[in-house]
């Protein structure tokens, strides 16, 4: 059995996450905005979301690895 997450959802969510995080950091005066900083965090979020979605490394809550083996068999 092959396991994989949701790469498209991950990419979009990561992009949104990075964009809003940029706004948060700007409001809290942690990160001054520039053209580069506006692009960096959304792209990093997109990459992280895409990677998580492709690999599906987050364990499904409430289901142990043993239970998955049972279901596979």
């Amino acid at each position: 059995m092959r396991r994989r997450g949701r790469p498209v959802l991950g990419a979009i969510s990561g992009l949104i996450f990075g964009g809003f995080l940029t706004i948060d950091l700007q409001i809290m005066n942690v990160w001054k905005l520039s053209i580069a900083s506006e692009i960096v965090l959304p792209l990093v979020g997109l990459a992280i979301g895409l990677a998580l979605g492709l690999t599906g490394v987050v364990r499904r809550p409430g289901r142990s690895e043993g239970a998955m083996h049972v279901a596979r068999d």
Partner: protein, 244 residues
């Protein structure tokens, strides 16, 4: 039985997936966007240059931002997409079948088109803007607020408790702040305005400093909620789903 919001969500999802099927067409659209972006940028740069560096308030950098942002949104807006599926179905009469379905005809086509438009942002919109930023450059605001408050221009009229009788270069005073500024998150803002009286008009500027936390303004609250929702989406996307 009429459709609920979940039904339209499923239609938008279907539109998203249908658009993602035509990957070669998306690549062709991206190349077209970029090529025409360069052509438009070249023409408008020449116009700005011939006008002496500024044309109708645009400089080379701001006109570049206009060109590449509009090119990036071309796929989502689909203004050059020709006849829509709905108009074609109206023409050949198939729309009669649509009216028998338990969904609102206009809303269902809108949901499908929103799904299509959402997908085009990723492979066409973002790369177009990125190419413009990396090649000819864009003039993007260095503050986040122009993006959010760009449509609102606030001018503080009549600041100062009295006239500047001794003609000082700089004069401290108080100003009645527009109520719209209650929505602004904490930070320092540069604000311009003027004072008009019988003696004449005096233009000037002031720096406003708003104190508070990130949650003390609606924009900050929305930003925090958006961050949390994005994080939840990323984690959810990473949860493994069983594939046969």
């Amino acid at each position: 039985m009429r459709a609920n919001l979940r039904t339209y969500g499923q239609l938008a999802r279907a539109g998203f997936h249908r658009q993602s099927t035509y990957r070669l067409a998306l690549l062709a659209g991206l190349v077209t966007n970029i090529v025409f972006g360069f052509i438009r940028a070249a023409i408008l740069f020449a116009a700005v240059e011939s006008a002496g560096g500024t044309l109708a308030g645009y400089t080379s950098d701001t006109i570049s931002a206009y060109v590449w942002l509009s090119q990036g949104l071309l796929g989502a807006v689909n203004i050059l997409g020709g006849a829509s599926e709905l108009s074609e179905r109206i023409r050949n009469g198939d729309v009669a079948v649509d009216f028998t379905r338990p969904v609102d005809v206009q809303a269902s086509y809108l949901a499908t088109d929103l799904g299509r438009a959402a997908f085009t942002i990723l492979p066409r919109g973002l790369p177009s803007v990125l190419v413009g930023a990396l090649t000819v450059g864009l003039a993007l605001p260095a503050q986040i607020w122009p993006y959010l408050l760009g449509l609102v221009s606030i001018t503080a009229k009549a600041w100062g408790p009295s006239k500047n009788a001794s003609n000082k270069v700089s004069k401290a005073g108080v100003a009645k702040i527009p109520s719209a500024l209650k929505l602004v998150p904490p930070g320092t803002y540069h604000m311009t305005g003027y004072n008009s009286s019988d003696e004449g008009t005096c233009a000037g500027s002031m720096d406003l400093r708003f104190t508070g936390s990130i949650l003390s303004s609606p924009v900050g609250i929305v930003a925090v909620i958006g961050t949390l929702l994005g994080a939840v989406g990323v984690v959810f996307a990473g949860i493994a789903k069983a594939l046969p």
